[in-house]
Structures are given as C-alpha cells and as structure tokens.
C-alpha cells in the first residue's frame, strides 16, 4: 500500500507538471477522443503531445506488458493512474480498434515478432485499424466470406470485397478474414490477415447511411499482395481468432450503447430535461402520463441493465467466472438504446422532425440522426437474432 501511495504521488506530480492544460476538464468530451493513425484529424492541438508523452511511458494502455511498449502496471496501479487522470479530468490519450479489438487479439494469437512489431505501433497510436469481416453475402452468416487469398511465393494475392468496414477511409491497416481453402467446412477455410491499406489494389468507398453519415465503407481488393507473415494464428485458423475478437467487439458495443449514467442518480438526465422542456409539468409530474410511464419503464430497464453489467463485473472481481448473463449485454443494451431514442422522439414531438436549416434547434436536428443511427446497433457486431441464437444454444443448451 505504501508503494501504491508513492506511485500515486509520482503520477500526480508528473501529470500536474506535464499534462497539457488545454485538455484538462475534457475527460467526458466526446470530441476529445483521438483515434490515432496518419489520416485522422487531430481533435485538439495538444492531443498529439499528450499521446506522445503518455505513450512514452506505455500509459496509453497501462496494463499491457512493458516488453511491447505497454505500461506494465498492475491492476491496482492502473486504477490509481485512472483516478489521477480523472482528478485532472484528462481525456484518454488514445482510443480505437487497436486498443479494443486487434491489440488484445495480437497479444493472444501473435508470434513474438508480430507482438514486437504491432503492439508498440498501437500503443503509440501510429496506425489506426479497421475491421474487414462482413461481405455482401456474409452478414449474419459470417463464415460464408468469399474474399480469397491465394499463395504466391511469400505473399497472398487477395481478391474480393468487404463491407460495413467502420472508418475504412480513415484507417491505415485492416485486420480481415479471407478464404484460403474451399475444400473444407466453411469455418475451417478461413485465415486471419493483417494488411496495409496503402497496398496497391485496395480501394475504399464510404457508404452513405440513412442518417446521412458515412461511418462505414466498402473495401475492394484487386490482386492485393499481402506478405504471408502477416497472418495471425495459422493458415485456415482464422475463425478461432475471429470469434475471440468478436467477443471484444460485442462488449465494446454494449458498453457504448448501454448508457452510462445510472437512473438512480439524483442528477437530472437529458431525457427528463427534454420532457420538462417539450411537455412540461402539471402538479409536479410530466403532463403526459403515457410518456411519463414510458420514461419510468425505460429508466428501470436501463438501471436493470447497468446493474446486470455491474453484477457481472463484481463477480469477476470476486474471482468468479463471468456469469452467463454476459451474453445478454449486446442484445439488451442495443435494444434498450433503440427504445430510448424512440422515446426521445416521442418526447420532442413534432420538433424532432427537422433535418437541417431553419426552424429547429441544434439538439432537435441531432436527435433524428442519433435515432436513425441507433437502428444499426442491433445489426452491427452480430445482429440481435444471431445473439439470441447464441444465447439459446450456448447458454440455455437448446438443441439445433
């Protein structure tokens, strides 16, 4: 404990001396998130020096091993570091799929050479990663991917098309599934590849969504050469890697869309504020009782969900295995968010119908896009239907 307090003191003085003053107070500012890589816009001028000074100490991912550039901190030390960052309300120096998805997977499946090569680049935020999984005919049936990789000397020659690649246009590298064997069961012929998006023959086209935004891309591969040493795990051993990585992704999506503020907090949340503004109170109650009941239902659902997330994490902390309830986070969290956005629409009423231009306030124009975006939550990262299949089979043991 004495050591921990020493550590805290040193972190504190270092942060106070070095952390950019301009970023303090921006801990919860979504615009302060820095995704790294060569094509991403810098959120704030100080975001780069902040990343560099943290990366130098390995503190972008403080608990990753020191030998690959991580901080090598213990759980307790990581907690202290986070508390000290929170004390100055500093934003995380780096975010992205490198940290949440491919990094942990490389640590799990990579060769020593791969870890030495990629992990430091991830920690330093030098490359931004995107995910090449889905294809036009491989959505829920992911194992049906058709993008093919054929051996040619020390390289694979890759041909095919990926779709729903988040931020494909802003990423430097892609981790992807390719087919290397057509003779076996679908799942057994898939290889997990890492590829440089700058390679000749890669073309990226953003997809315009119903919300008007284009966070996803199609990525086309035409005779793209990828060195064979850039596979993760063995050739035709990609499905196992893909599933391990999907676990990380689902947790991330559920955390993102599950909401964060507990409903039992006494602080007023945005939904309540909107209801008071757009509907108003009567005898101290939201004047539309049907809306009021839906609000209570939604907050009760949210609280139930957050408590279940907490129960799972408390179980893990207590040294138990994660309970089967983990499997419900993705499907429940995303559907809850959809219900919340639909309720927000009902609360705003006709004022939420604007798209742009005159006669609507900014938050009124934002809401329909947030709502439309939420419809994708139950599709990406494994649709709700696929999640329910998984729960039925793997948790409940129901037969095929």
């Amino acid at each position: 404990m004495a050591d921990l307090e020493e550590f805290r003191a040193s972190v504190r003085s270092w942060l106070e001396a070095n952390a950019p003053k301009s970023l303090r107070g921006k801990m919860r500012d979504p615009a302060a998130a820095f995704w790294g890589g060569k094509k991403t816009k810098l959120p704030y001028p100080d975001s780069k020096p902040w990343l560099d000074m943290m990366a130098e100490r390995g503190w972008t991912i403080p608990f990753w091993p020191k030998e690959y550039g991580g901080g090598g901190l213990s759980k307790e030390e990581t907690k202290v570091l986070n508390e000290e960052l929170a004390r100055l309300e500093l934003p995380p120096p780096l975010t992205g799929f490198g940290i949440t998805m491919i990094g942990p997977t490389i640590l799990q499946y990579g060769t020593e050479e791969q870890k030495k090569l990629y992990i430091p680049q991830i920690i330093k935020g030098e490359i931004r990663w995107c995910q090449g999984y889905s294809e036009p005919n491989a959505g829920s049936d992911l194992a049906n991917i058709q993008t093919k990789a054929v051996v040619d000397g020390d390289d694979y020659i890759v041909n095919g098309q990926k779709i729903w690649t988040s931020f494909g246009d802003l990423s430097d590298w892609i981790f992807m599934l390719v087919r290397t064997n057509w003779e076996v069961k679908k799942q057994a012929g898939i290889t997990f590849l890492l590829a440089d998006m700058e390679s000749k023959g890669v073309e990226v086209r953003p997809i315009k969504l119903i919300s008007g935004a284009s966070p996803f891309c199609e990525v086309f591969f035409e005779d793209v050469r990828v060195p064979r040493h850039q596979i993760l795990n063995r050739e035709n051993g990609g499905w196992e890697v893909a599933r391990a990585l999907l676990g990380h992704e689902r947790t991330m999506i559920a955390n993102t869309f599950g909401g964060r503020q507990s409903s039992t907090e006494t602080k007023e949340n945005p939904m309540e504020a909107a209801a008071k503004k757009y509907i108003g109170l009567q005898d101290g109650k939201i004047a539309d009782d049907a809306i009021r009941q839906r609000m209570a239902q939604n907050q009760i659902d949210e609280q139930s969900f957050l408590l279940t997330v907490q129960r799972n994490s408390d179980n893990i902390k207590a040294g138990h295995r994660p309970g089967p309830e983990t499997s419900i986070f993705k499907v429940y969290g995303t559907e809850l968010n959809q219900r919340r956005q639909e309720l927000m629409l009902s609360i705003f009423g006709p004022e939420c119908l604007g798209w742009e231009g005159d006669g609507f306030e900014k938050n009124e124009l934002d809401l329909p896009k947030v709502w439309l975006r939420s419809r994708g939550n139950t599709l990406e990262g494994g649709s709700s239907e696929i999640q329910l299949n998984i729960i039925a089979k793997q948790v409940l043991g129901l037969p095929d």
């Binding site: 959505g139 969504l209 008007g212 809306i291 119908l353 006669g359």
Partner: protein
C-alpha cells in the same frame, strides 16, 4: 357501412395505381431530395393528377367537384403513399380545400376552388406552432381587429407545402386565451401579402414544409374562412378529414415496406437458405402482416364513417390514426432490421419509409394522442 370496394372504387384504385407505378416511382422522391428541390414535388405531375380527376373527389358539384367521399380519397392517398408521391394532396385538397369548401364565402370559393381543383393553385393551412405539440388551440399567433380588417402577427412552423403555396389559411387567436377552444379565426392569406415571410424548412421526410412568419400582415374581413372565433372547430373538422387521408397514405407506405421486407426474406440467402425460412423471422413477418391487415380495415372504416356521418366517426378516426401510427413504425422498424445492413444504407429505399413513418406519426397527433382522444370520446 360496407367494408368492400364497389366497382367504381375498384376501378379508381386501379387507375391511381397504374398512374403512380408509371409516373411516380419511389426514385422520384429520392431525386427531389438529392436535388434539394425547393418545391419538393412536381407541378407537372400534380397537374396530371388533377387532370385525372383525383383533386375533384371531395368537392361538391357546385364547386366543380365529383362529390365523392373519403372512401375514394383514401384510395388515392394509399397509392401515393405506396411510392411516397409528395404532391400536395392532403394540404391543398383536403386541409385547405375542404376548409374553403365548408367555410369559405361564395366569393372565396369562386376565386380559389376552380384553380385548386385544376391543380393550378396550391393552398395549405398554417396552423402548427412551435411548442404546441398536437393541440391546435395552443397558438400564439394573433389577429387584432382594425378599422378595415385584421392584423396578423405570429409564426407558424412545418406548414405542409407552404413553400410556394399560392395562399394559406392561417389560424390566429381573435379572442380568449392560449388553449381555449373558442376564439380562433381562420384567415386566407395570399402569397403576396405584405409582412408574410415564407422560409423553406428541411425535414426528415424531405417534403415541402415552411416556416411562416407574420409581421403586421393585413387581411380583410372578406378573407375570413368560417366564422369569427369558431375557426378552431372548422380546423378540427378538416384536420379530421386530413387525418383519414393521411392514414390512407400510411397504409400504402406500410404495405410497400412489408412487401419489400417479404421479398427480401425470400431472396436473401444466409447459412445456405433464404432467411425467410427461419421460424423466428417467419413469426415476426406474420405479426406484421396482421398489423397491415388490421390497418386496412380501420382506414376503410374511418373513411366510410366520415362519409356516412356516423355518430361515432371521431372514434373511427382516432382508431385509424392510432393503429396506423403504431403499425407503420413497427413495420418499417422490422423491415430495416430484417434487411440488415442494407436497410441502413441510403441506397436502399426503406429508409425513406422509416423516416416518413415518423413524420406521419407526428402529424395530426401521434398514437398516444389518439388513444387519449379515443378514451375521452368514450367518456372514460
């Protein structure tokens, strides 16, 4: 009432369907949106619709109409709704046209109705204000009496087809307080009225709506539609008609969305089989089918209840709007989910229906509003 189409109605429906299929594919809506077309609809197609007689359906023979009813009207709006044809049928023919027909002086009717029916003039009703939600009596726009008429001040929002309209019928308070049923008067204000500013608004469904500001706009007494201080009641009547017409549109839209989803379920292969063979999806499709069928029944009934002056017609109307609002949203939500990632792309047409469903829900009162109204009408 008989919930069946007679021969004339069957023929009308077929004619409308043919015209819409040939002349108004859903891509037309997309094009108007991509072009950021200020009018948001096609004057040419509107004229053709008028030439086909659709615009005359609701008017009396004296006013130059066909003296048909809502039963025929919903056939037109259903087919328009199936392909999201954005022409100003509900605003010009049902809302403003019927307000004029029911409450306009002989002079006003003669001045306007002929060209409205001919598709040459487009009218609308400006009644909605920011913060009023679904209550048409909550308005801050005022009309103050002067020596030779009235002066209107205030602001209306999301006035359907208000941009480019030749005139609009404006609700303004002439007496009483915010929320009072009495004390509202309707004024016909021509487009060139001094002090009126019309700004195009851009909405989720890309249709023509406008922000209309009135600054000391002078109107003469001759431009009053209906009776002074009783305009709220007349407005309520024509909104009821427009609600039924809108339910027709919603029925057409949900039909498209449902059939589109069904086609996709038969054609999209995953795990080596069409996804329509998965039982969980089948059951969901069957439930959506029920919603669509029930919606058709209530739309037909509401139209007939109005035509037959049924004592419970408001109950039928609120039933129809509550059901169609819930059903259109449910069907488009399910369609997007079943279409998967494709359903989320702008390239797919389903997004247009999902957006329009939400706008339609919140036009003339959402499902909750109409359930509340239903209960109140039933006396509980």
């Amino acid at each position: 009432m008989e919930l069946v189409l007679n021969e004339e109605q069957t023929m009308l429906a077929q004619t409308v369907k043919n015209f819409i299929t040939d002349n108004s594919p859903i891509n037309r809506m997309r094009q108007l949106r991509d072009d950021k077309d200020m009018l948001g609809y096609s004057k040419d197609i509107w004229k053709q619709m008028a030439d086909l007689g659709w615009t005359a359906i609701l008017f009396s023979e004296a006013d130059g109409g066909l003296e048909l009813g809502m039963a025929e009207t919903v056939l037109v709006t259903e087919e328009m709704g199936r392909n999201l044809a954005p022409e100003p049928y509900i605003s010009s023919i049902v809302l403003a046209g019927q307000a004029l027909a029911k409450g306009g002086s002989k002079e006003l009717r003669e001045q306007w109705l002929g060209s409205v029916i001919a598709g040459d003039a487009v009218l609308t009703v400006a009644y909605q204000e920011k913060g009023g939600r679904y209550d048409i009596t909550k308005i801050k726009t005022t009309a103050a009496k002067t020596a030779d008429g009235y002066v209107i001040n205030g602001e209306k929002v999301q006035v359907t087809d208000g941009y480019g309209a030749d005139a609009m019928i404006v609700s303004a308070r002439t007496s009483g307080n915010d929320g009072d049923a009495d004390g509202i008067t309707l004024f016909l204000v021509p487009r060139d009225a001094a002090g009126m500013t019309v700004t195009r608004q851009w909405r989720l469904d890309s249709r023509n709506v406008a922000l209309v500001a009135f600054k000391d706009v002078k109107v003469s007494e001759a431009n009053i539609v209906g009776t002074v201080d009783k305009g709220g009641q007349l407005l309520g009547q024509v909104i009821d008609l427009a609600t039924v017409a809108l339910c027709g549109e919603m029925l057409g839209g949900m039909n498209f969305a449902f059939n589109h989803m069904l086609a996709y379920m038969k054609e999209r292969v995953q795990f080596n089989v069409p996804i329509g063979s998965f039982q969980a999806l089948k059951h969901r499709a069957a439930k959506m089918y029920m919603e669509v069928e029930l919606s058709r029944s209530v739309v037909m009934a509401a139209a007939r209840a109005v035509d037959e002056e049924n004592a419970g017609k408001e109950l039928f109307i609120s039933t129809a709007k509550a059901r169609c609002s819930d059903a259109y949203i449910a069907v488009t939500n399910e369609a997007v989910q079943i279409l998967g990632g494709n359903g989320m792309t702008d390239e797919e047409n389903i997004g247009f229906y999902m957006k329009r469903a939400r706008v339609a829900e919140m036009t003339f009162g959402d499902a909750t509003y109409h359930k509340d109204r239903f209960a109140t009408l039933k006396g509980y």
